[in-house]
């Protein structure tokens, strides 16, 4: 049984505590949601790098990691992700439950202290009387950010999705590179990134989730005290809007040294209903028995993978595939045919029922994992779209064939992006 409570502990700051004795670990997840703009993307990403593995008390990576080692291999990490049209900076920590400590230490509170020190007490130096990130450390982290942006090309599937995203969301915050462009990262200064850091603390909408076996009152008090003492300004409220479909579909092909081509097709709709969009997506290409998997891969052997995913709030369905160059056109035609068939209701009741069963069974497992539970809770509060996994399952089971068809008919092909070999 999972126990849950949420309190407002500051301006635009929510703290949820979720406990369940079945967990072996305790975790603290802090999500800071900010406006995503071309001007701030690289600096915000750099902040995530700057606060990850040092703090004033443990100012070098070595000292910091030795501290984590003493806390039985506790982990602290930061990350950056999209939250629809906004950017989400996450600072999270995880440790084993206190009852497993060999010497009775209160590991969770100490880990929470380390995490909040990373966030509130990063290593700084004074430059012309102004507090700033230290130049040497900043240059290392800046290079790491640049390497990280450059490394996107290593995963060709992700690289194709990233390039397709620029076209799909042209002119929208969701089309801005998550970590900024290389040139923008290159131009960053320590002062600028420190300013971005202070701005995040002052204006970000913050959702904190403590989740685990047992969160002690001392641990909860520590987090409440640190966050309620923050100097807060005008708080950013996440905005979500569907992506407008282009008048005509846009096609683009990029060439690279690849053995297998990648194709990303994007369809758009103005419908954003949770259950209908999830179910349509799964039915079309979200399971190993979906329409796309059965036809494009299994029956016609046109792709090694061909799957659909949905960005619900943006009203976008992506279909991405790994395809031989010679099969690009046949695969594209077959994908379009399957989308049309889904819209026309040309699928069996059995397929619809099996898809509902898979989705609802998966929802039952959300609160089995501390991380999945934290993500579910945080997303719900940030979007003001709060429902339990059980309620989500009920909604999915209530979706009718007609709603699926209606969703399918509302889809409009927006973008076809292909990454293919140079010799073609």
């Amino acid at each position: 049984m999972t126990n849950r409570k949420r309190t407002e502990i500051g301006k635009g700051i929510g703290l949820t505590v979720l406990t369940d004795p079945k967990f072996k670990t305790n975790g603290i997840v802090i999500n800071l949601v900010c406006r995503h703009t071309k001007e701030t993307a690289a600096a915000n990403a750099a902040v995530a790098f700057m606060i990850e593995d040092t703090c004033k008390k443990y100012p070098t990576v070595t000292e910091f990691n030795r501290r984590l080692g003493m806390l039985y291999g506790a982990s602290v990490h930061t990350g950056i992700s999209r939250h629809t049209d906004s950017v989400q900076i996450t600072a999270a920590a995880s440790c084993i439950a206190d009852k497993y400590a060999l010497n009775g230490e209160d590991i969770t509170r100490q880990t929470a202290e380390l995490l909040t020190e990373c966030l509130f007490e990063p290593v700084t130096e004074l430059v012309n009387g102004e507090e700033c990130f230290p130049e040497k450390q900043f240059q290392l982290k800046k290079q790491e950010l640049i390497d990280d942006i450059d490394a996107d090309i290593n995963d060709k599937r992700g690289y194709a999705l990233k390039n397709a995203g620029r076209i799909i969301y042209e002119g929208e915050p969701a089309g801005i590179a998550l970590k900024g462009e290389r040139s923008e990262a290159m131009a960053l200064t320590a002062a600028e990134v420190y300013k971005a850091y202070k701005n995040i603390l002052r204006t970000a909408r913050i959702e904190i989730v403590c989740v685990g076996c047992e969160i002690s009152p001392q641990c909860e008090k520590h987090i409440t005290d640190r966050f309620s003492a923050m100097d807060r300004g005008e708080i950013y409220e996440p905005v979500n809007s569907t992506s407008p479909a282009k008048p005509e579909p846009v096609s683009k092909t990029d060439r690279l040294e690849v053995a297998q081509s990648k194709m990303v097709m994007a369809y758009k709709t103005t419908q954003t209903d949770y259950a209908v969009s999830k179910l349509f997506n799964a039915l079309l290409g979200g399971t190993p028995f979906s329409m796309l998997f059965k036809s494009v891969r299994e029956k016609l052997s046109l792709c090694y993978y061909c799957s659909a995913s949905v960005s619900r709030k943006k009203g976008v369905i992506y279909i991405d595939s790994g395809v031989e160059s010679a099969n690009i056109e046949p695969a594209k035609n077959e994908i379009m045919k399957q989308v049309e068939m889904a819209a026309n209701g040309e699928f069996t009741d059995e397929l619809l029922d099996k898809t509902k069963l898979l989705l609802t069974c998966a929802l039952k497992s959300v609160f089995d994992s501390p991380k999945a539970a934290a993500d579910w809770v945080s997303d719900g509060y940030l979007d003001e779209d709060i429902f339990t996994p059980e309620e989500a399952a009920e909604r999915i089971n209530a979706v009718t064939r007609e709603q699926i068809c209606d969703y399918g008919r509302s889809l409009k092909l927006d973008t076809v992006y292909v990454l293919t070999g140079k010799e073609d």
């Binding site: 049984m1 369940d20 079945k22 967990f23 072996k24 670990t25 593995d53 070098t60 990576v61 070595t62 990691n65 030795r66 984590l68 080692g69 003493m70 806390l71 039985y72 291999g73 506790a74 995880s94 084993i96 497993y100 060999l102 040497k136 290392l140 290079q143 790491e144 390497d147 450059d150 490394a151 090309i153 290593n154 995963d155 060709k156 690279l256 040294e257 053995a259 297998q260 399971t287 190993p288 028995f289 891969r297 052997s301 792709c303 090694y304 993978y305 031989e324 099996k354 898809t355 069963l357 898979l358 609802t360 069974c361 998966a362 039952k364 497992s365 609160f367 089995d368 994992s369 501390p370």
Partner: protein, 427 residues
């Protein structure tokens, strides 16, 4: 049927080990309160098992590379339907994987556990191949091989293994090559299936809030008893020294990537946990994030947060590996080599050792948090042949500084290593 409870005082955890009359080893770990149930049905058959014999064979036989993986793909196809369609009726998520020394079929579910278990036990014991269906799969597996051809992480690793090993089949891609899979036919698949999918060579591992009696009752009904054919699988004789000390390839990457591996003597299944634990600790102490060398390399811009290390060990192979991105991989190799020599002379310091030990212990406790990771630990223990899933935790708790120092001396020979580098394509 022989049944025993395996328990561990340190963690307070326990599970049941059953040696079933059919020859199958069954490991069941009941976790209270979880919705997820996870089951794996595995065989000691991976890409390295290309030369083998049973009591039925007059001599050893060698088969083309990639058959274990090919067989995994084909078992998912029944005579009348696809296994994914069967799982779809229970709401379970099914999957499978082939590694160097094993093939595992698995599912995760929240409801309908017993019907899902029936599907798993049934299809893995019911092969169906025809020349036509085997030919059709060549296209899909060929596409899978080409997809991995575009992965620099995969390439830097296999180039390392090609540099380290002369003959061991671990140097060949798990899926084989387009040429080797062209030689696979239905007869060969049946031959390999009948050899390696003998229940005496297999393990069933289950974790979740499950009913043990119900599971064993299903096993009694569905497991087909088979005779132990005394399977022996061998790898070609391998020289002690590496084949090449350096390998390089150009690729569409921005920053050079590297894998540095030390050729080390393989160990038996009885010793593999202990040796792997000690080797992991030596790697952590040499170049983990708390080490002096990590700081020097990181501050010098020679490595970044993509840096990692692992002990690549299994049936007939053992290689400590350090990898990541670096603008100067040769310099990383030189500095790590110098540090290894220094530590061989001076030993690691006791305080760092204690921190590394706590860190390792904590990561293992974290692994007890989900039915998926518990069942994976069980199948690892079962396929190792010991059935003891607590051995890793106990080896970590019992490791001494002297053990780790001794491991460093024997397993990190700087004169017997390979550096594999992926460089950006020069435009």
């Amino acid at each position: 049927m022989k049944k025993e409870i395996i328990s561990n005082v340190r963690t307070g955890e326990k599970y049941t080990r059953v040696l079933h009359d059919s020859g199958l080893e069954i490991l069941i770990w009941k976790t209270e309160g979880h919705s997820v149930k996870h089951a794996l049905f595995g065989t000691r058959y991976g890409s390295v098992n290309t030369t083998f014999k049973t009591s039925d064979d007059p001599d050893f036989v060698t088969v083309p590379n990639g058959i274990a993986h090919y067989l995994e793909h084909k078992l998912f196809e029944n005579e009348d339907c696809d296994v994914f369609d069967l799982y779809a009726q229970t709401g379970a998520s099914g999957n499978a994987y082939t590694s160097f020394d094993r093939t595992c079929y698995l599912f995760t579910c929240t409801d309908n556990f017993i019907p899902s278990l029936r599907i798993l036990l049934d299809f893995v014991q019911k092969p169906y191949f025809t020349e036509e269906t085997v030919r059709k799969e060549q296209g899909i597996i060929g596409q899978e091989i080409r997809m991995y051809d575009d992965s620099p992480d995969w390439k830097v690793f296999f180039n390392l293994l090609e540099g380290i090993y002369h003959e061991n089949p671990v140097r060949i891609d798990i899926a084989g090559t387009e040429e080797s899979i062209a030689q696979i036919n239905a007869d060969l698949l049946y031959r390999c299936y009948n050899t390696f999918y003998n229940l005496h060579n297999m393990v069933l591992a289950i974790a979740g809030d499950v009913d043990e009696d119900e599971i064993l009752s299903v096993c009694d009904r569905l497991l087909k008893p088979c005779q132990n054919k005394e399977l022996v699988s061998i790898v070609p004789e391998e020289p002690d020294t590496v084949k090449d000390s350096y390998r390089e390839q150009s690729f569409e990457v921005a920053v050079p990537m590297f894998n540095l591996g030390f050729k080390s003597k393989p160990v038996s299944n009885d010793d593999i946990v202990r040796e792997t634990v000690l080797c992991n600790m030596a790697e952590e102490l040499l170049m983990g994030e708390t080490s002096e060398l990590y700081k020097t390399l990181y501050d010098g811009g020679l490595i970044n947060s993509a840096f990692y290390f692992e002990t690549f060990s299994g049936d007939g192979f053992f290689v400590p590996i350090f990898g990541g991105e670096s603008r100067d991989p040769e310099k990383v190799r030189k500095m790590l080599g110098d540090e290894i020599k220094r530590r061989i002379n001076e030993g690691f310091d006791p305080e760092s050792f204690e921190i590394a030990k706590k860190h390792y212990y904590g990561s293992l406790i974290k692994g007890l948090g989900s039915p998926e990771s518990i069942a994976t630990g069980l199948i690892n223990a079962g396929l190792r042949g010991t059935g003891d899933a607590f051995s890793v935790i106990e080896e970590v708790a019992n490791a001494s500084l002297e053990d780790v120092n001794a491991c460093l001396k024997t397993r990190f020979d700087t004169d017997n290593s390979t550096l594999s580098v992926i460089r950006p394509i020069t435009k």
